[in-house]
Amino acid sequence: MINYIIQRVVHAVIIIVLVSLAVFLLIRMLPGDPIEIIVSQNTLASYGPEYYDQLAHEYGLDRPVMIQFVDWFGNIIRGEFGNSILHNFNIGEQIKDRLTVTLLLGLTAFVISFIVGPLLGIISAIRRGTWIDNLVTVVANIGITAPTFWIGILLIYFVGLKAGLLPLYGYTLPWTDLGLSIRQSIMPIIVIALSPIASSARQMRSSVLEVLNEDYVRTAWAKGLKEKAVIYKHVMKNSLMPVITLQGTMLRQIIGGQVVVETVFVIPGLGKMMVDAFLSNDYPVVQAVTLVMTIVVVISSLVVDFLYGWIDPRIQYE
């Protein structure tokens, strides 16, 4: 077990370094850099094109790329993310604030989809063919085939604008104003959780249908157990396993969904920061955000993997 953990952590570190290096190199190889943007935006002000070299030197962008990388990585390990070239904010502080928002929304969505998805799956499997099964199937199909941003837009239009029930956009931290924070989080969380709910409900439905045909379920019915006992004790436990192995996929859906949702609902999270940084080619921000994103992804998939072992003792770690 200890060996396995060490091995996984080493793998994780290798992935983090490789992704950072790849993004670091690739983004520099392509045309258009932040210095050019500064220079072109300020032709009338203090910086003319002749300042390009001076500025590039100031930001250390004229040095060999590998030296820049080693230098940057060293700073990161010391906890210094540096400043944005274009907007001059402190990247470390900005990331801290935004990561809090993203984690709050993401974890809530994860927990909700982990409970709601399988529950819907069970209900639709044991009430197979009824209206509730059809409803779940339709919702699951929408969750899988509809674009995330579109669900968000629909909710904003009908729930926010037409019905006026919830705030349209923005985000407030729960410790600033709990009521407002909850009201602002409802729609984004629904949108983020919809596609993981859809895929886990589908998986749960087919796995429950399979388990219902097992001999031990027939035995449980035959010995006169009540429906609740059969479903909770025999069906649910045994059909949950394939759904639990789906958690990794759900996690990726949530992280991807957040990037879109933060743009639709104008939420100051890490995903929005990533999109903005990539759109403006702000090197230090792009590097820092990619690094933090990769770390979040790698750590959460590590946690999910260890959870499997905790839930299903049959899984052996080599």
């Binding site: 992935i15 199909n141 085939t145 674009p147 995330t148 941003f149 579109w150 837009i153 589908r202 759109l279």
Partner: protein
Amino acid sequence: MDIDIANKDDFELLEEELLPPVNEVKRFIRVFFRRKIVVVGFILVIIFLFIAAFAGLISPYDPYEQDLYNVLSDPGGAHLLGTDALGRDLFSRLIYGTRTALAVGASTALVAAAIGTVIGLIAGFAEGPAQTIIMRLTDAMMAIPSLILQIIIASILKAGVPGVVFAVAISLVPGFIRLTNGQVLSLKQNDYVLAARSMGSSRIRIAIFHILPNCLSPLIVQITMMMGIAILAEASLSFLGMGILPPTAAWGSMAYDGYRYLTTQPLLSIAPGLAIMFLVFSFSMIGDGLRDALDPKLRGTTS
């Protein structure tokens, strides 16, 4: 009764008993169209293909013609679904958007399939450390959320159709590598591969003439499924401003442009999203139907 295979009559009798005559095409059609929802998906795709092919004839206006006296006009009247902020006809842009979506979906899935299949075949045949390294890298890529991967690649390649196709294709490649690798590993156990090898066929010959044809059914299913996924991914990227940029009529960027006018002209952002959902849904249904019809072993499994 003694059966003598050398005897022609006996042989035919035996053949008939062993293989009841089944028309493969008829069986395929029967299984494929058995589920109503698959039929719906199939008809929808035919309609979308028709719209894409005859976009020029169907659309009432030029999708790129700006009418600045008629911006953000209401649905109905001269413009069926109204106009956008530059006075372009929404209905015509939706029609031309079908072309973009189908072209991007098909080319992305095919590029991903081509790259993934070759790498998967190599991995399956290489064995040893080469296979381990390829599959580890594949796992690592699959661990990254696909949208994040697409954003990184698309922004490095810059926006535009080729950039988007390549970015989305790369994120789909690991799925194809895994599929082909798995197929190769199981197909390699077959006697006909052993026979081919004992006749002195090279590994490349075995891969191309014996293994690849037997991978085709699951590959076709995967390609169909991935077309829908690719269209969805392109739309998300375009919505974020990293995919296909205006003025090209693409549903994702149309939805983003229209989003700013949600209070007054909700159709501008809602209609393109609806179109995306229908197209993605139909590809997913056709994929389901194909899976049932082509690979009975996979029937009933979810994806």
